[in-house]
């Protein structure tokens, strides 16, 4: 079973709705045993970084250990940002440190938040984008962005006057800065691709 981590922040329901719509069984839970038994984990997030990290509490290290042991993990929006080392949103906060890099403010000189549908160039070796072609629009809503320094991570970018990391893949760790659960058909395809990764592991 795929487990969406429930840690009492923002819009976690929509991610579950999208998997339900795809006919993919999913459970919203903060129960450590269920998380450990899951075929794969989704870390959603509509919240400020610090609030999200605090709300996640000790589950953070559980998720990190499971990801390091090979369980597929998908971070979405702030969940994506939490995969990195640290963020400077409302103070400095440590992330899970699964992917090297910091979360920093979107550079000034443009409208912030980066809000709306932006075109992502989809590398053909990133599993999340299988079947989607070379580029697609996805829905973004964020004021901070990842500065990816991890040389072992694959990165997909969007153009917001600079190359903004839209998605990463590092082994079994996946993340999207955009909201696949709010990105129409192409977003559902991304989640479907992740569900396939989860199924590939059995359980």
């Amino acid at each position: 079973m795929l487990v969406v981590i429930d840690y009492n922040v923002g819009n976690v329901k929509s991610v579950c709705n999208a998997f339900d719509h795809l006919g993919c069984p999913v459970e919203l839970s903060c129960d450590r045993r269920k998380i450990e038994a899951a075929s794969a984990l989704v870390l959603p997030g509509v919240a400020a970084f610090g609030f999200a990290v605090n709300a996640l509490g000790s589950l953070g290290s559980v998720i990190k250990d499971l990801a390091l042991a090979g369980k597929p993990l998908l971070g979405i929006c702030v969940g994506f940002q939490m995969l990195f080392d640290k963020s400077s949103e409302f103070g400095t906060h440590n992330g899970l440190g699964l992917v090297s890099g910091d979360v920093v403010p979107i550079p000034p000189g443009r409208v912030i938040p980066h809000m709306g549908w932006n075109k992502v160039v989809l590398p053909n070796d990133m599993v999340l984008f299988a079947g989607l072609g070379g580029e697609k629009h996805f829905y973004f809503a964020h004021s901070f962005c990842a500065n990816v320094t991890d040389k072992t991570a694959k990165v997909a970018y969007t153009d917001y006057g600079f190359k903004l990391p839209a998605s990463i893949q590092k082994g079994n760790v996946y993340g999207t800065q955009f909201h696949p659960e709010k990105s129409g058909q192409q977003g559902l395809q991304v989640l479907s691709n992740f569900a396939r990764i989860a199924n590939g592991r059995g359980n």
Binding site: K13, A48, F51, N118, S143
Partner: protein, 254 residues
């Protein structure tokens, strides 16, 4: 490149969409889920649901509505109307809304913007401003509250700047003069606000033609355009709006 957004607005009363939605081939023109799906399939970038009753009783209804829409529509949507606490916002976001808009409550207690931004991130916090052209000061607009029924002496542009500073991540700017006229957005107002803040501004009130949408973006500097009548009456489909904008050189998600 970030695309400009087309956002249909749906007024809700007792859990039903009201205000002249005249779609053909709809089983039930008042069903928010069916209308939301319809707009999503037609290419809407986002939806806005406004609870126009906004009573204590209607709060429960709107949460149910958000839940049902979120189970079936996979594009972002904002909910507004009568939201006065961070707890109410939390419930709506947890039920599936992407953003919440506050209007009267923010004027009365501007702290709500900061509290919400620190908890949810400012991208969830929409400041709705209903502005009316000042009769005494040319080139100025007054903020009105309680669905436009009560004027304040707050300057709309100054309020937008302060709202953004306090934590709003977007401004939904409605011209009370243009609303319902279908004679075009108040371009002067839209540009004055959009140029004064660094967060996205959604132009609202007055859309009647495709050119109005273009003007709001190009002359008004709006990041997004909101409309009700011209989509509800099927004067134009969302796809037609996007094709028109694209052909005039504006990036859209098509």
């Amino acid at each position: 490149m970030l695309t400009r957004r087309i956002i249909p607005c749906l007024d809700v009363k007792d859990g039903r969409v009201v205000k002249g939605v005249h779609f053909l081939n709809l089983r039930d023109a008042g069903d928010p889920v069916e209308l939301g799906s319809r707009y999503s399939e037609d290419g809407a970038d986002e939806l806005v649901f406004l609870d126009i009753t906004a009573t204590i009783r209607s709060r429960k209804t709107i949460v149910d509505l958000v839940r049902k829409v979120a189970e079936n529509v996979f594009i972002p949507f904002t909910v507004g109307g009568g939201i006065s606490t961070v707890e109410q916002m939390d419930e709506l976001l947890r039920s599936g809304a992407e953003k919440c808009s506050v209007n009267t409550a923010a004027v009365k207690k501007p702290d709500i913007l900061t509290q919400a931004a620190q908890r949810f991130g400012n991208q969830c916090v929409v400041l709705a401003i209903d502005a009316r052209r000042s009769k005494t000061k040319a080139g100025h607009w007054q903020v009105t509250v309680k669905a436009g029924t009560e004027a304040t002496d707050i300057d709309a542009v100054e309020w937008a700047v302060e709202g953004a500073k306090r934590g709003a991540g977007e401004i939904l700017l409605t011209s009370m003069d243009a609303d319902g006229t279908q004679k075009g957005y108040d371009i002067e107002l839209t540009r004055a606000v959009a140029d004064a803040v660094n967060i996205p501004v959604i132009a609202s009130g007055g859309a009647g033609t495709l050119e109005h949408l273009y003007d709001a973006v190009v002359k008004g500097h709006a990041e997004a355009v909101l409309m009700a009548s011209i989509t509800h009456f099927e004067s134009y489909t969302i796809t037609q709006m996007k094709e028109y904008l694209r052909d005039r050189g504006i990036a859209v998600n098509l």
